[in-house]
Symmetry: C2
Subunit: 464 residues, 2 copies
């Protein structure tokens, strides 16, 4: 029999293209994929079929009157089974589905045992986390992971199209970039911690210190890779392993940095909405009814800028006017909590806003000190719905200023190579970090980081 082997994606693509000749040429189609559901009424049966190439299912139809034996065989196929069918392509403009495949031949490629956990009913996200190897077969996780892939590509396209060089900064390192201390150690079994590398090493918390020297060679660079925190905090926004994007730009200051952040976020929103319309529609209908609105609002906003000091004044006034925060003790020098950030971006600005010029005590050592002696040239991008989405800064390029800070922290010796970049043709430069998983949560409306990663790693959770 002369038939064409096609995928879900290819079939929907042909339909969308609307080329009449191409459509007319479709007759017998071969498909290989999985049964999402199978139901029949005794004389006619329907399989919702998906081969993984596209969010939308295909409808397979089988008739008893055509072939009774085949009918009985197909009718017995369970949800989750891998099957191959050959069938006739039929346009059905009057139905919900634009077309259907009327099955003529059928083969069971891979059966499912009866304990298959993904039966046709709504499963809780908590339950699905226990079957991380199967959950990508559900609508929600299919959509999340496809958007994760597309958003990764958006990041690469954005930076590569602007001439940025992608740098694979190391995962195993002797440094602790943030000085945070909550790091995972790396050892070799049964040996002392110095055995392999000659000194204690740990998993990176940031690629920034390693990528900065590359900005002094290539001007514009970025990292995109996994980073780690051994933080035992059981929140929906913390994971032990997560991916970070860290661009670094030379001959650039905080304003250039903020412009790049704004361009990057808008590019990503536009890219994902264009590449994943079905998935975004699904998120908007079933995960977060505000997600499309929220993204489009950001896309069409000019990102505002406000100093940390001004934000503190606004928060103080809000408290004085009776607004209740969990922490209502507002004072200059404090680290803002999510509730404060969200008040600023949602109630005050009603849109994306950069807070800039933070007190130096609450920011990292490498951020450039402002002339006031009290603040650093840092920026946090706050967006409605989540609060902080991106953090960036201009870097301290002055050798003496940086060395004084590093001496204070006792890290000069181990990071001498980093400090040295300031006396070997250093220049004004800036950069930022985006937590990729959190960006994905923002884009999809998924509100637990455990549901944004393929196999999330959190305290006491590493079944897979």
């Amino acid at each position: 029999m002369d038939c064409t082997y096609l995928t879900n994606y290819e079939l929907y693509d042909i339909i969308a293209g609307g080329d009449k000749e191409e459509l007319a040429s479709l007759n017998l189609i071969e498909l290989q994929g999985w049964v999402r559901t199978n139901r029949d009424n005794g004389s006619i049966g329907f399989i919702e079929f998906n081969d993984g190439t596209y969010f939308k299912n295909l409808q397979l139809v089988y008739f008893k009157e055509n072939n009774g034996d085949l009918y009985e065989k197909i009718k017995a196929v369970r949800t989750g089974a891998a099957i191959k069918v050959i069938g006739k392509f039929v346009l059905t403009p009057e139905n919900k589905q634009p077309f259907e495949i009327q099955v003529q031949e059928y083969e069971l490629l891979g059966d499912v045992d009866e304990d298959y956990p993904l039966q046709k009913k709504r499963h809780s996200f908590e339950f699905l986390r226990e079957i991380a190897h199967l959950r990508p077969r559900t609508n929600t996780f299919y959509a999340v992971y496809r958007v994760r892939s597309v958003l990764s590509m958006a990041i690469h396209e954005f930076f590569q199209s602007r001439g940025f060089v992608y740098v694979h900064t190391p995962i195993i390192t002797g440094n602790d970039a943030e000085g945070a201390g909550q790091v995972f150690d790396v050892t070799t079994k049964g040996k002392d911690p110095n055995a392999f590398f000659g000194r204690p090493v740990n998993l990176t918390v940031s690629g920034q210190l390693h990528v900065e020297p590359f900005a002094l060679a290539f001007r514009d660079v970025y990292t995109f890779g996994p980073t780690f925190r051994a933080e035992n905090s059981n929140t929906p926004r913390h994971a032990a392993e997560f991916w970070m994007i860290e661009p670094e730009i030379a001959f650039a200051d905080l304003n250039d940095d903020m412009q790049l952040i704004e361009d990057c976020i808008k590019f990503c929103i536009d890219y994902v909405q264009t590449a994943c319309p079905e998935e975004m529609e699904f998120f908007n209908n079933f995960i977060d009814k505000d997600v499309k609105n929220r993204l489009n609002h950001v896309l069409n906003s000019e990102f505002r800028r406000m100093s940390y000091t001004e934000a503190i004044e606004i928060l103080k006034k809000a408290v004085a006017d009776g607004h209740k925060f969990d922490n209502s003790k507002i004072e200059w020098g404090m680290d803002l909590q999510s509730e404060h950030e969200r008040y600023i971006t949602e109630q005050v600005v009603n849109g994306p806003v950069f807070l800039i010029d933070y007190p130096k005590e609450i920011k990292a050592f490498y951020m450039r000190q402002n002339d006031d002696g009290k603040t650093v040239a840092a920026c946090d991008l706050l967006v409605p719905g989540v609060g902080e989405l991106v953090g960036g800064s201009q870097r301290e390029e002055r050798y003496d200023v940086l060395k004084a800070k590093m001496d204070e922290m006792g890290i000069t010796e181990s990071l001498q190579w980093y400090l040295d970049t300031r006396r070997y043709g250093g220049c004004k430069h800036a950069g930022f970090g985006i937590g990729f998983d959190r960006l994905l949560m923002y884009m999809t409306g998924v509100n637990n980081i455990r549901d944004s990663e393929p196999y999330p790693r959190t305290a006491n959770n590493i079944k897979f």
Copy 2:
């Protein structure tokens, strides 16, 4: 003064475009970048200038007769300094450089100390490894890291354009995919190994076992991320940390797998040669005089296929005919060494060749057993110049066969979730792994993995 801020890349791009009006409009140009070399003859001086955006330098020219003070200042600028200049754009079709910038204003942005290690002379690669934070400023490493970035993008474009979904498989894992045992352990300081995750964990050696379940949801998927081996082998081809590409395709067998490998390698070669002509020219001139020939030969070859068994017969005959290998004891069941692989691909085939159907004892447990009961459906791609470049296989999809192998290895319990994918709608599937750093070495002619990674990690080497 009305001037245009441009980069090396933009200037060369305008020249290459050859638009006469655009060229005529170039008058005063502002540039910010680094001094590669500076020389003068007392009345005229030349700076080789690069701002990191393009492989080729620009020539800055400064004249004593125009401004004696400025001349003295610029003349004193050292190699490596960051500078800003404003100058007049002048076409110089009679010179080696197609244009020059005649400096009118100058500012020192970042000076260099006198101990700057990158003086104008040839440095050994060994020496440059000691200054990994500075070596991207040399021609060789600038070219290597730019090609590394472009090759990464080639990988993403190849797979995304074919509808593959990019999956971030975990770095921290409880499994040891290859059963090799040479893994790095991950712990939290001063605590027992179970403290954070509730069980001992290690750094991944492969994302394959984690990505396979995603192929059963999306059909075509790939990973691209860091992997680790705690192998204390001091060779030019082994690093403790390296990046791997691991695609996995459902409803596909070993032939589909080999076709995908061939397409992927050819796509990468073509992509890099198109995107990095200057860098490839440089490699061909200064690193490996055969690299372009070798790549073009592969690009224009149909990849041959040969069984392991046939290869053994050929090697036996070669030894009988007097060919000397370091290991000349050729017998069926042996693991082929690089010398054997190179003999096959260079002397016998004279081109790329897949060896297929290896003895099951020397291959991984997840590879599909052939009907002969002795071999598995594995393929190694051998290419002239290096030997093995890619390894792949069809996966064992039969539950009972796979379980028997896993039982034998004692890994069934910890990998029950993996095994379960064979009884929940499993299907024929295949995949492969490319060591990204080795692919980069192959593309550039660089012959030590320490020179292909930004900050290589090998035994006793983690200065940065």
